[in-house]
Symmetry: C2
Subunit: 224 residues, 2 copies
């Protein structure tokens, strides 16, 4: 298992960020302001551009110790030696993905229902994304929205750390951490915002407050 | 260098073949009738389906000793242990691709002009595809058509074996081999034909006749 801090998980979107340069700028502004993970996701891009962007992100994020995760493309992940790969249910199987990225790379997987959650192989997968919490324009092939209740139901059976994803906003942090989230994954809450750094800071503050409240609750509940 | 017989190089097209099952059937019919290489190319497909199709093709082609080449996706190639990978100019760089597929895998690269040809690194790349000979509906992002003359001009500087691609038909075999081709790569000359096996056989016969004519010419030219 590769434990990383999933608290504030930024998924980049090239359209919202305004292309290659906008993705780099958004990622660095977010990392400077509390993002703990950055994922490069550009499903319409060719691999040459993805690898170039990934290398620039990796270099830029290194001083912040923020891991870079590549969406879908295990080959790009392996070629640029990114920290991790994130796969969906139609991407390479976890076993195939592991064969390409090796044992030391972080592997995340998306699940959207109980059957997919049950099938998660924690011998291969380090963490999961559960969603969509609410339907989203940034991923049109996502399953039906779960709502906070649906998320809580799935998260109560989580076999490994979990991020909530799908139109997630800072205002939902308390509810989602109470429902079992280990982190919030966002796209449009940061990408394309007037000030992505400020948006990341506000999200990070909401997440830290929610985590502190959870920690207090759980320590109280341990008093006999 | 990994030498393979490029003579009759089939590039599968899922739309023309009628989907997954049609691709398998077309590949096997072609292999039974003289195709010497099969490439899996399905740019709109997700990797899970690609890997599944690749595994079925690999198993099906093995008895014919016909190598399976994967288009673009080095990760799928590595995961299914295909014989080779084929990359375009916007796919992973040859160095990145080699890093993923390893030294023993075949690597082909597409080139469409003199600058791209000059940049081919034969320390990494085993063979090249030069095209499009004529413009084609099966690859809308291809460069301007070269014609036989344009192909001949490029092929005269070939640093490694070369296949001609782009609306190539059996009737062009003599001209293209005379112009320096080591093989003909086809999509619609086989995929979607009423009888793909027969189409492959006719192409293979034209190629063998063209190669025999070339061999005779070159042996005559060596007589002092």
């Amino acid at each position: 298992m590769h434990a990383i801090d999933l608290s504030v998980y930024l998924v980049l979107d090239p359209d919202l960020c305004g292309g290659f340069r906008g993705m780099i700028d958004t990622a660095l502004a977010a990392a400077q302001n509390g993002a703990t993970v950055v994922q490069l996701r550009a499903p319409k891009w060719k691999k040459r551009a993805l690898a170039e962007c990934a290398r620039e992100l990796k270099t830029g994020l290194a001083p912040f110790h923020v891991p870079l995760i590549i969406n879908d493309h295990a080959d790009v992940c392996a070629a640029v030696k990114a920290d991790g790969l994130h796969i969906g249910q139609e991407d390479l199987s976890p076993a195939d993905a592991r064969a390409v990225i090796g044992p030391d790379c972080i592997l995340g997987q998306s699940v959207s229902n109980a059957a997919e959650l049950k099938a998660v192989d924690v011998g291969l997968v380090d963490h999961i994304g559960i969603g969509p919490i609410y339907s989203t324009a940034t991923k049109t092939d996502a399953g039906p929205q779960l709502g906070i209740e649906g998320f809580a139901k799935l998260a109560s059976h989580k076999p490994c750390p979990v991020v909530a994803i799908g139109s997630v906003k800072a205002t939902m942090a308390a509810e989602l951490f109470a429902a079992g989230a280990d982190g919030l994954a966002v796209v449009s809450a940061i990408c394309g915002q007037p000030d992505p750094g400020l948006a990341a800071k506000q999200l990070a503050q909401a997440v830290f407050a929610a985590k502190a409240a959870q920690a207090k609750l759980s320590s109280c509940s341990q008093i006999p």
